[in-house]
Symmetry: C2
Subunit: 531 residues, 2 copies
């Protein structure tokens, strides 16, 4: 950057700083309502086209980088984000109101994720190498040599999310997994944190330059309007889209992508209420502790997490009052917290009012009000019964923020009916004590059909970035239920298999060459190759 931490308000298009041509906008400090400098220029159609043209030009070279170069590049991005130090932390705090400890935790997750994908790249398993050798004497016809590997789809558009300004934004999971796959990335930063986006974007660009990669490997577009996103998704050079955000936003991108002459996949992580099921023995033994722990999960990040527990189903009468009392007490002493944007705050307030006004839904507790902050996300806890929940489909909807509805469920039959009517979810959580094992065994096959991750005796907030995690799930949790946007499997979203038949030895890529020069895992006639 021009000087450490000096923000310019420019778009980062390949190696060039470009002023936006379609108006300007500023970030707002949600803690104070103050508008932040500098002004950011919005990308117009020319800037979108320039970024995608560069990405297309970069594709041929970037996708053929060797594994070590690509891995080292991802590690450089992580190192450079770390090196931004407090300049980055303070800008994130100013643009989002997220407390320091969470910002630092999110930064560690973000850089850890980049380093994990570097390891994934080196490992080479993602190349999906398979060889079915020729069988010259097969009858009636000889069998030809076939070799298969994964190649990247092409340039990827990534949309930054409001609630994870680092981990799901410019150098977040979508970007890391796309770059790992060999796909150039054009990011559309979230307009709530353009300065954070610029800082991280410059770190990423510097890593591109350090490793001599084509400049179009990465560009950062910014803008507060919707037209830039539509322009990006409908650009013919873009071949896949990663998005984390609202259901309406995700569905708009899905529709735009489906309407292209060449439709492309949109990996949108959209909407989830993350139901929690407290089974009778757990409720009886631990009602009070679970009530307290539930609210700790609910109020994390002012409830602005994709995995925030928005519904709790309590089965059984014994202990339910303890659970409700403890939860109500925890909510009543929970402070309000600034929400990420005024739009999110307005939607939260409307959602809470809608819940409060629903017949047979009782407001159990509200958090502490705090007139000193500009956008108070005041926690809210509601309670109803299973019949009411089944009768009001609107009670299934996500209220993004620290609001949750506890549903007292009559019996197992009603619990199963509820589960079977829930929409797709990122997570489903079960609290089960020893005597609940039978009930849990009945519940589990239903829950795995509606959720990407099933949690036992824990809480859905807090997503591990590893190999076995799934951050995904059936519609409307995501637009692509067979994928995950967190963890090492996320790379698969940007790859497709290609098969080579009777490829001359001098043209065979290293990952498929005889003798396995890369030393990667391969299937030969369907059996793992020893190396």
């Amino acid at each position: 950057m021009t000087a450490e931490g000096a923000l310019t308000g420019a778009l980062l298009i390949g190696a060039a700083d470009v002023p936006g041509s379609a108006g300007e906008f500023r970030a707002v400090d949600p803690r104070t309502g103050a508008r932040l400098e500098p002004a950011y220029g919005e990308a117009g159609p020319d800037e979108v086209r320039r970024a995608t043209e560069l990405a297309q030009q970069a594709f041929a070279g970037y996708r053929q980088t060797d594994l070590e170069t690509r891995a080292a590049f991802l590690e450089s991005v992580a190192d450079r984000i770390d090196a931004l130090g407090d300049v980055l932390v303070e800008r994130v705090r100013a643009e989002t109101g997220i407390p320091r400890a969470r910002v630092e935790g999110e930064r560690a997750r973000t850089t850890g994720q980049l380093r994990l994908f570097a390891a994934v790249v080196r490992d080479g398993d993602w190349l999906g190498a398979r060889i079915d050798p020729a069988i010259a004497d097969r009858r009636p016809q000889a069998r030809p040599d076939l070799r298969q590997r994964m190649i990247p789809l092409g340039p990827v558009a990534v949309f930054g999310a409001s609630n994870f300004p680092l981990a799901f934004s410019v150098a977040g999971g979508d970007t890391a997994s796309a770059l790992a796959a060999g796909a150039p990335v054009v990011v559309k930063g979230h307009p709530a944190h353009p300065g954070t986006a610029e800082l991280v974007g410059r770190a990423l660009r510097a890593a591109v330059e350090e490793h001599g990669l084509p400049e179009g490997t990465f560009s950062l577009l910014q803008g507060a309007g919707h037209s830039i996103g539509t322009a990006l998704v409908t650009d013919p050079r873009i071949k896949a889209v990663g998005f984390t955000g609202s259901r309406s936003g995700g569905l708009a991108l899905v529709a735009a992508a489906a309407g292209r002459p060449e439709p492309i996949p949109v990996y949108a992580e959209m909407s989830s209420v993350n139901p929690v099921f407290v089974l009778p023995d757990a409720l009886r033994r631990q009602g009070s502790e679970l009530g307290t722990a539930f609210v700790a999960s609910l109020t994390t990040g002012a409830g602005q997490l994709c995995t925030s527990p928005g519904l709790v189903f309590a089965l059984g009468a014994d202990g339910v009052e303890s659970f409700l009392d403890a939860a109500a007490a925890a909510v009543a002493t929970a402070p309000s917290a600034p929400m990420l944007t005024s739009g999110i705050q307005a939607a939260y307030t409307a959602g809470v009012e809608r819940l409060a006004a629903t017949e047979r839904v009782r407001t159990l507790a509200r958090g502490l009000g705090d007139p000193a902050i500009g956008a108070p996300g005041r926690p809210a806890l509601f309670v109803t019964d299973g019949d009411t929940f089944l009768a009001h489909p609107a009670l299934h909807d996500e209220v993004f923020g620290a609001a949750s509805l506890v549903v007292r469920v009559r019996d197992t039959a009603q619990l199963h009916e509820i589960v079977d009517r829930l929409e797709g979810q990122l997570t489903a959580t079960v609290h089960a004590a020893p005597a609940d094992v039978g009930a849990a065994r009945e519940l589990l096959p239903r829950l795995e059909l509606i959720a990407g991750r099933v949690v036992f005796n824990g809480w859905p907030t807090g997503v591990e970035v590893g190999h076995a995690v799934v951050h995904g799930g059936p519609f409307p949790a995501t637009s692509a239920p067979a994928t995950t946007s967190v963890g090492t499997r996320a790379i698969e979203r940007f790859l497709r298999p290609v098969s080579y038949q009777a490829l001359p030895a001098e043209l065979v890529p290293d990952e498929l060459a005889d003798g396995n020069p890369l030393g990667i895992r391969r299937l030969v006639d369907g059996v793992p190759d020893r190396h």
Copy 2:
């Protein structure tokens, strides 16, 4: 069935023979134009609903069958198809006009495919088992135990294809891979071969009964209209669709699936012209032989193969006349062949007439006419130059049948321009002699971006069913470019990952249990588990 080979015209809905309620239709022998007995009842909305309800009921039980039971079931289906013997061969011949040797070859491919998926099921690699063990002493938080596996999406609708009455039909690749994944299947048979569909459907149903599987594991619906397909794809119990057929048909299903309250994936294999690139040294050395071999591929199956070579690009002047002369001679002596249906015949005739009428496109040869057959698919060969090809986008379109266009390409630059403007393809083929290696090296990265399979010094027709094959490709070759509809990877289309966090040991499924009781390949912390 009621007696071996005795066709009833009934729909096979679970264990019941059900008469269709929405009219009736009959197959036609394309060799004679004769209408064949029996009449088939068309499925109406009630029958569609009944089949999907049974499939949904079967899902919970079928998906939890142990690997050995599921594998043995698939093998039984293969054995029972083999046991149909000549009854099946003759019915296929009567309904499609396909010669005996090809029917027998397709039957072997179909049963081999079922047995291959049985081996895939037993192998267990498709379960994608991953374990990230807990780390209790990690700071700042303990790491929870996470275990991931693949589960099936739910009941799958499969549409039979006209051109592969066995291999892409009732018990074809889509059905075999969906059943392997643990998904019940509702097949909509192709109306051109309802008797073939009934014979194979009864074999499949008998295998369901033999293994004590839920009756809704398989149903066969039939019908000649479009409404049954729409009803099936928009039925909320159906969770994925497999289709092989026309671009318009595939896109209609994609649109119907996208418009559902819960959109679902459609794996449609649609349209491909399978370009062949003959490089200068190959043209010079082998022009004549290549011309003859090309026409052998073109006329296979009367050109009614998804991988039929509809475009040939010849680079260089030396040898091109030999290539054209040999190809023209081969076409001129190639017999006409009955096409699969009158609709396909009409579209073929129109396509050939369109090519013949295009300015600067010359008709090089037509096959032998045969007034004795009802629907003569008379081969047709055309020639043009690269400038004309680039100027007429309609010349890129598929003409389904034994018609092909040879394009004389001026130079490498024009060849690259052409490749970059081609739509997505199932295959791309290169003929390269030793001196062509440099040109092939430049061409390969372009071809792999537009095709699912790149063939060297061979022909695209003939698709191996193995581990390393890809029968897929960028849009419009398919609606889902990251998948294949042939080969062992096809199972992945019907699966999605689920992650279990801190699952109690007594609830852990065998594939994720400590000690690896199934002995399958698993990743532990991203590293292959030894067993």
